[in-house]
Symmetry: C2
Subunit: 272 residues, 2 copies
Amino acid sequence: MPDLNKLCVHTITTKPWDFATACEKYAEAGVKGITIWRDAIEGIDSEQVKGLLKKHDLTLVSYCRGGFFPAVDEKKRQEAIADNIRMVEEAAAIGAPMIVLVCGADPKQSLETSRNQIVAGIEATLKVAEKYNVKLAIEPLHPMYAGDRSAVNDLKTATEMVEKINHPLVGVAVDVYHLWWDPHLEEEIYRCGMTDKLFAFHICDWKVPTTDMLLDRGLMGEGCIDVPRIRSWVEHAGFNGFNEVEIFSNAYWEMPQEEFLEKIIEGYKNHS
Amino acid sequence: MPDLNKLCVHTITTKPWDFATACEKYAEAGVKGITIWRDAIEGIDSEQVKGLLKKHDLTLVSYCRGGFFPAVDEKKRQEAIADNIRMVEEAAAIGAPMIVLVCGADPKQSLETSRNQIVAGIEATLKVAEKYNVKLAIEPLHPMYAGDRSAVNDLKTATEMVEKINHPLVGVAVDVYHLWWDPHLEEEIYRCGMTDKLFAFHICDWKVPTTDMLLDRGLMGEGCIDVPRIRSWVEHAGFNGFNEVEIFSNAYWEMPQEEFLEKIIEGYKNHS
């Protein structure tokens, strides 16, 4: 069983709850970590955000999500960099130690070009990240998102980017949903671990059948991903951070969220 | 521009047409190759199939699709092998030189176990394949199908299986839809080519957005896959077989199929 003190929930997982409710409910349920999605705190003052986290004794794990660097249009690329810099400042203001990057892709150009623009975008963001000591985690996304969401589609590619950028603040986020199918996942996780580049670990499950490419993620235990096995690799690689539950699901968002949170905790205890 | 004499269409691409109509329309449009899906000729005598192919001067490229070997249940596995053996006999009867394998996966077991069962299934089918000299092509499927359709999700894994089986009748089918995202695709295509294991080449496109995980494939040119570039790799690797158009699309199946076939030929000429 995973360490209950290492359970983190992403605010988007319980999307129907506003931020204050999420903090309260997570704390009541014994959840210790929270990853904040940007839209969850839109319009909320950063001091208020920090106050709620402190009140409920929640550890802020990550701020989601930066990235989306590639674009055929140069102006759009510059806007993306400016937006990532703003996100670093926001992260610093609420006390988030890390930003997760959904790197982006532009279907009008090759994946290689998009990957080069991602590296350039991260490098351009790093100066501000250094100032505030905010980590940037490249999250490789499932190949089904290569068209428009990310040109980084396996852990090897993400790690090679991290090695190319070669900066202590840049690492990777491993999400079982995106990477479970990769026959080389175990060795690539160890490779990351050797250089302490494994910054985050996200969990959920892959349902069979999956009816929506974005919003039909499963709870741990209801799909075909062997989460405990992948967690064992991640821990063997030296990772000792939070296990972050990140589920986008129309079906679960329609359910009373208290009930869903109970299921999350059960799935965490028994199938993670 | 690709060689017009190398254009092959899969019967499923124009699913609304019965087999006789497909043969007639393909020939009228100047299509030289056909890949027959099993259900397209269900209930049609094999001599009649051969007669139609001959009448319309169509080259039979492949018979689709065998495989689906893995199962937790041993009885199901044996049934799958028996079914693949029947498919080899059917292929021989209609004069198909090759069967394409959608290898299968059982979500109740690990991908490694499924892969081992795939190798065992192919080996069990080979005796009959040898008798009739029918090739078996492992088609790696996109990782979004790893849950239940195929435990072989990149070209490297497929090639490693082929190398393990090490039989002149066993090779791979490269489908741009499944593999376009892979940063190592070019080198893996050359690796296959070096040992003459590249048996088939399938084309279509990846639409952005893709609205259905199975039935929303695009015509060459309407998505983000650089088909001409991948074709150049395949040809550089020594492949000189047909370029097979395999599109599953609810949208296109609803269109008058003559019109769709015209679009296919245009997409083939200008974007393949």
